[in-house]
């Protein structure tokens, strides 16, 4: 601090003065940029349009785009402070290669040469599938498309999956099984048009707050929220169903039971558009209101009321997120949600849709254009026609396209543990914080011959374990497109250059292709994401996710365009899938009604571990906090994790508010969590946010995965709570 400031002559008047920005108006001079660059938010899949303010080549401000159809100028607190992520001090800046046990700076050439050599060595010794890749939902679609080709056709391994398996896989599998294809059928506009909105395991007020303005704008709706915890969203509900954990399958079966019994179903639609009704009818027979009430803990009246409200709605929307997906019955729960919509004809109409609200900004992009759990353009590995079509588009032999998908994320980890996978390339994700039961993961990563971590941030708990760190550009530093939950493709732009030697993932992929010698074959003449976009448009043409009518210019002009948007499309408007006349993507064009039986969640509480642990999020943070943990205002608003416990349980354990407790499961222990005693949580349950590496919920979560989608059952595991023996001073 300087002397003039010490004595009070200087009060930093200049720094704290104000000026006029032509776009954002009167504001702090620190936040008046030289120019505003339009882009799309890089956090969640709501897909808000925004601008980055750039001054002297630094991102100094952001503002919502008032003309963007998704967010109308609003942003959540993460979006409002997103420019700080670019300037964070934990950005990865240089390629780092482990030499003598220490990560040391290397040139890009050396880094990529080493990577290619290590990968090829392993493939020679242990087979081509001994290389595994785990990517993310946060690259641009162009990069996903490029990465898919690079991995499957260039590297020649099919053991490639994304962290999307940790969040969206159940929705994907559920859509595929019911409708024959992935692809959320609805639109955000449905939140405004529906007269009944049923949210299951979705705390949108916390996790997608910008969608709440749609709820607010809909004055005719009845909002029903199903959640074991009285979330912010539950508190907004007209009818709240405090369901026992993971009993939604029983509830949905019970609702279907009531609807069939009381003839509240759309027979005509069922006959015309679905198959499997008889089986469904039989399977829900035993889900009488009495039984469902005893399973779910909800009164029969409440179950009836919910079923009747849903059936009587002109247009009913069902939205769900992780409460449904993070489950060993995730996929089948999605199928039941789809069943409910199908038997009442609540699909493909304004306000009527079973809508999965996605997590990451471009989870949708990897689902559409990726080449991991499906072929690009929602094509199927097991379809010879689809493989042939792709081979022709790419000018390669169809034999090179695998006939089945490789290992899913948890199975890659399992395979690494068994030393079947020897090298792993992790892109844009932080499994050491986000993967369930992390001690197993740590052992698995420890078994690898070579671990590459490509990320915008270093050190992260994962990148610290790497043999090679590739520094990547992040949001705001690269170009491409994101697809949001309502299938809206929006443009993402580069506002500033990546720090030091960091490069866009797209450039890294092309450089690797060069080293592998497949660049000209797979990516002929490509230099920028626009080249990938053009090819992807051709590949998507005629598919459900048809991009062929889009261009970067059109996307910029309209603030994003929903697919399908085939070439020749004249009008940009709200679209829905499976509207009248549009067949489902199954062989017979009919949706499948899938019967499901309820199962209790795998790890029931015991005398030793008497609580059911629920995990979730807080509005201020994103995933594992590699980004938001470096945004000062977000850290200030939500500096540490907390454990929610009902007062009845707390008094039995003689615990007091703000005590520090350990959460213990059969697998591990979370140390020193601040206790929050609250009636938000039911007796017998506790809740812990999963963002904080310091108090990592995944120390205690279990290795239990959905058999179809392979998504982890993060939401329920048995724990006990103890008062911490050592209280860390800095958290008092």
């Amino acid at each position: 601090m300087n002397f003039r400031r010490q004595i009070g002559l200087d009060i930093l008047q200049e720094k704290y003065s104000y000026g006029q920005d032509p776009s954002s108006g009167y504001t702090s001079v620190q936040k008046i940029p030289d120019q505003w660059i339009a882009t799309t938010c890089g956090y969640c899949s709501v897909g808000c349009g925004m601008f980055i303010g750039v001054k002297n080549s630094c991102a100094v401000a952001v503002r919502g785009n008032p003309a963007h159809p998704v967010n109308m100028g609003k942003l959540c607190p993460k979006g409002l402070s997103e420019h700080y992520t670019i300037e964070a001090d934990n950005r990865a800046r240089y390629p780092l290669l482990k030499k003598n046990g220490k990560l040391t700076r290397a040139t890009w050439d050396e880094a990529l040469d080493t990577m290619v050599t290590k990968f090829q060595d392993v493939q020679k010794k242990f087979g081509s599938d001994a290389v595994g890749i785990i990517s993310t939902g946060q690259l641009v679609t162009e990069e996903f498309y490029t990465l898919g080709k690079l991995v499957q056709l260039g590297l020649g391994t099919k053991n490639y999956d994304g962290n999307t398996t940790l969040c969206m896989a159940s929705a994907v599998s559920g859509y595929k099984r019911s409708f024959g294809s992935d692809g959320p059928p609805g639109a955000y506009e449905d939140f405004e048009k529906a007269d009944l909105i049923l949210l299951i395991g979705a705390n949108i007020a916390e996790n997608h707050p910008i969608l709440c303005q749609r709820l607010e704008a809909n004055h005719n709706k009845t909002l029903i929220v199903v959640d074991p915890r009285v979330t912010k969203t539950a508190m907004l509900a007209d009818l709240y169903l405090p369901i026992k954990p993971r009993t939604d399958v029983a509830l949905l079966n019970g609702m279907i039971h009531i609807l069939i019994k009381h003839e509240l179903i759309d027979r005509e639609y069922i006959d015309r558009k679905t198959t499997g009704f008889e089986d469904l009818e039989e399977s829900v027979e035993s889900y009488t209101p009495e039984r469902v009430s005893s399973i779910t803990g909800l009164s029969q009246e409440l179950i009836y009321k919910t079923a009747l409200l849903y059936a009587q709605a002109e247009a009913a929307l069902i939205g769900w997120t992780m409460g449904v997906n993070h489950s060993t019955q995730g996929t089948t729960t999605v199928n039941l949600i789809n069943n409910l919509a199908l038997i009442t004809g609540n699909i493909g109409r304004e306000g009527a849709s079973p809508l999965s609200i996605t997590g990451q900004c471009n989870a949708m992009g990897t689902r559409e254009a990726g080449f991991a759990s499906g072929l690009p353009g929602y094509r199927k590995f097991d379809s010879a026609k689809d493989r042939e079509e792709l081979a022709q588009l790419w000018g390669i032999s169809a034999d090179r396209i695998p006939t089945s998908r490789g290992l899913a994320y948890p199975d890659i980890i399992e395979a690494a543990l068994a030393k079947k996978i020897r090298t792993l390339w992790i892109i844009g994700t932080n499994p050491i914080v986000s993967y369930p039961n992390i001690d197993v993961l740590k052992q698995s990563l420890g078994n690898l011959d070579f671990l590459v971590v490509q990320d915008g941030f270093h050190p992260t708990p994962t990148s610290e374990l790497a043999d090679l760190v590739l520094p990547a550009a992040i949001w705001g530093e690269k170009e491409g497109t994101y697809t949001n939950s309502e299938r809206r493709v929006s443009k993402v732009n580069r506002a500033v250059a990546p720090p030091a030697e960091a490069r866009p993932d797209f450039d890294i992929f092309l450089a690797l292709a060069g080293k592998l010698g497949c660049r000209e074959e797979l990516f002929p003449g490509w230099t920028s994401p626009a080249d990938a976009f053009e090819e992807w448009k051709r590949v998507s043409e005629g598919r459900l996710c048809d991009y062929s009518g889009m261009s970067y210019e059109l996307l910029e002009k309209h603030g994003g365009i929903q697919w399908p948007f085939p070439s020749g499309s004249q009008e940009v408007r709200t679209t829905r899938l499976y509207s009248d006349g549009q067949p489902f993507e199954t062989e017979d064009g009919k949706a499948k009604l899938i019967s499901v039986d309820w199962q209790p969640f795998p790890e029931q509480p015991t005398r030793e571990f008497p609580f059911v642990l629920n995990t979730g999020r807080t509005v201020e943070h994103w995933h594992t906090r590699t980004k938001t943990g470096k945004v000062p205002i977000l850290e200030r608003l939500s500096p540490n994790a907390w454990l929610e416990m009902n007062p009845r349980d707390a008094s039995a354990l003689k615990l007091r508010p703000h005590d520090h407790v350990d959460v213990v499961s059969a697998r591990g222990r979370v140390h020193n969590v601040e206790l929050r005693i609250t009636e938000i949580i039911a007796p017998g349950q506790v809740f812990l946010p999963f963002h904080y590496a310091e108090t990592n919920a995944n120390q205690v979560t279990q290795s239990a995965f959905d058999p179809i989608s392979r998504e982890p059952n993060y939401k329920q595991c048995a724990v006990r709570v103890e008062k911490s023996k050592v209280v860390l001073k800095d958290r008092i």
Partner: protein, 518 residues
């Protein structure tokens, strides 16, 4: 939200008015949601009207967009939040309700920040009613942060001045909605126009809410729309988090030393009045030095010590100004008194009387600074008594240690003041415990839990330095020891005075917001 642009139609001195401009910025394409209507506040303000915030608790989802937007708007660091979001909670599972309170400045009709400010840094804008703060004028004394029941003004150590929400005055002038209003996805924060006289009659019903301090103190203008049904046990979420306040070390030292100095001068004068003359000059000069040190210490508390003299300005209104004024006079007269005594010039007795009177007046001003409604544990005569008794105890011990006297009368003064202080502190604690005010109870909780070792230590030092040593250690060294032990005791006592106050505030969030980003 792009708002219709306004322009200033008329500008004659302070009574400019705002009227809407005709055109709106073109929109790129039709938006289905949130029809942009012209907000009702976009009309010229009339005589007797002002702007205010309306907060709709039924709409707020606690996303804290307003907090982030406010910090961005004003370029503030994360540790300073001119808008804050608190939580209140009640009910039983599954009928649990949590509501949020988003609060900036309430732009009160009787702003207590303004009334206490010694330098006139605050003004109530005659047209908009916005309570504005001038960083230029501010000297960083932070008195306003004690005077506001809502915890609105916040001191910036980086700048050395206080800052607060000005309802985005600059934006309103340009007919732009404030940053928080703009950022709220739920339209829970709005600007409204009110007639101040009407509001004065109606505020009690609309400006109060669970989790908010009473609006009576300053007549807050923020209107809060409450949910139709609220669980009866709804209370602040942060009610269990009570932490010691800032100790303000320069003020601890300053108050103890001024009290010592005043007490010493009073003793010197009393000795002189009864005809003693041993070492009176020396004692007066020493007391003067102590007073000088106190003055120096006081400027260290200021964010802008160089402008300390400005604090004289508002003596008609502010107890802080009065304190500065009276102690300023005191030090001059005391200087004269010490000089007259030392040089044995006649007239010193009268000067001594004046010095003593001014000293007592000064102590009273100091005490009145702390006796403010937003700091309930301070706001009682115990504060006044504590300061007087410290002065008597330390002043008497001081003159004894210098060798002015070792007589029975001063010893009696020492013993009586120590005993009275012990009683005063015990009584204060007892009344805090018995109080029905949350803040007073919380102060008692602090004193009897976190701070209890220090409380016991303070009591021991008081008994030792104010009773045992003066009685049993009779030599000069004993007297010096008694003085030093008592100074330590009073300093610890004053430290506890500062840290154990629990100020009134709005409900805050359950998690501490004090952590800084890594």
């Amino acid at each position: 939200m792009p708002l219709p642009l306004l322009e200033r139609a008329k500008e004659d001195g302070i009574t400019f008015v705002l009227t809407p401009k005709k055109s709106r910025p073109d929109r790129l394409y039709k938006i289905s949601l949130l029809q942009v209507e012209e907000p009702a506040w976009m009309r010229p303000l009339q005589q007797g009207e002002q702007y205010r915030f309306h907060f709709d608790m039924t709409k707020c989802i606690g996303c804290k967009c307003c907090v982030v937007a406010c910090n961005e708007q004003n370029g503030n660091p994360s540790t300073i939040n001119w808008r804050r979001v608190g939580e209140i909670e009640g009910g039983w599972y599954p009928n649990t309700k949590r509501f949020y309170l988003s609060m900036g400045c309430n732009h009160c009709l009787e702003p207590s920040c303004l009334l206490g400010c010694p330098v006139d840094a605050y003004s109530k804008d005659p047209v908009t009613g916005i309570v504005r703060h001038s960083a230029d004028t501010c000297i960083g004394c932070q008195y306003c942060t004690w005077n506001c029941s809502y915890g609105v003004p916040q001191f910036s150590p980086e700048r050395g001045v206080v800052g607060k929400c000005d309802m985005c005055y600059g934006r309103l002038q340009e007919s732009q909605a404030p940053a928080c209003v703009n950022a709220c996805p739920e339209s829970a924060i709005q600007i409204e126009i009110i007639n101040t006289e009407q509001w004065r009659r109606e505020y009690a019903a609309s400006a109060n809410a669970p989790g908010l301090p009473s609006a009576d103190h300053s007549v807050s203008t923020t209107r809060v729309t409450l949910p139709a049904e609220m669980p009866p046990d709804t209370k602040k979420a942060d009610i269990h988090r009570v932490r010691p306040e800032h100790p303000h070390w320069p003020l601890v030292v300053m108050t103890i030393l001024t009290q010592l100095s005043v007490g010493a001068f009073a003793n010197v004068w009393l000795r002189q009045a009864v005809g003693s003359s041993a070492r009176l000059g020396l004692a007066a000069v020493a007391s003067l030095l102590v007073g000088g040190m106190a003055l120096a210490a006081s400027t260290l508390h200021l964010g802008r010590p160089i402008h300390a003299y400005r604090a004289l300005k508002m003596w008609k209104r502010s107890w802080l100004s009065r304190e500065v004024l009276v102690f300023g006079l005191f030090s001059n007269v005391a200087f004269a008194y010490a000089a007259l005594l030392a040089l044995k010039i006649p007239g010193s007795l009268a000067a001594g009387a004046l010095t003593t009177l001014l000293g007592i007046a000064g102590l009273t001003c100091t005490a009145r600074i702390y006796m403010v409604r937003p700091r309930p544990a301070w706001n009682s005569n115990h504060t006044l008594l504590e300061f007087y008794l410290s002065a008597i105890l330390l002043g008497s011990l001081f003159v004894r240690a210098i060798g002015v006297t070792n007589g029975r009368w001063t010893l009696m003064l020492v013993l009586a003041s120590a005993a009275a202080q012990l009683l005063n502190q015990s009584l204060k604690f007892f009344r805090l415990v018995r109080s029905r005010s949350y803040e007073r109870q919380a102060s008692a909780r602090l004193l009897s839990t976190t701070l209890v070792p220090l409380v016991l230590c303070r009591g021991a030092l008081l008994i030792c330095g104010g009773m045992l040593l003066p009685i049993y250690a009779t030599g000069l060294s004993g007297m010096i020891a008694a003085l030093l032990v008592s100074i330590a005791g009073e300093i610890l006592g004053r430290y506890l005075f500062f840290v154990s106050v629990v100020p009134k505030n709005i409900a805050l969030s359950y998690l501490s917001t004090s952590a800084e980003a890594a």
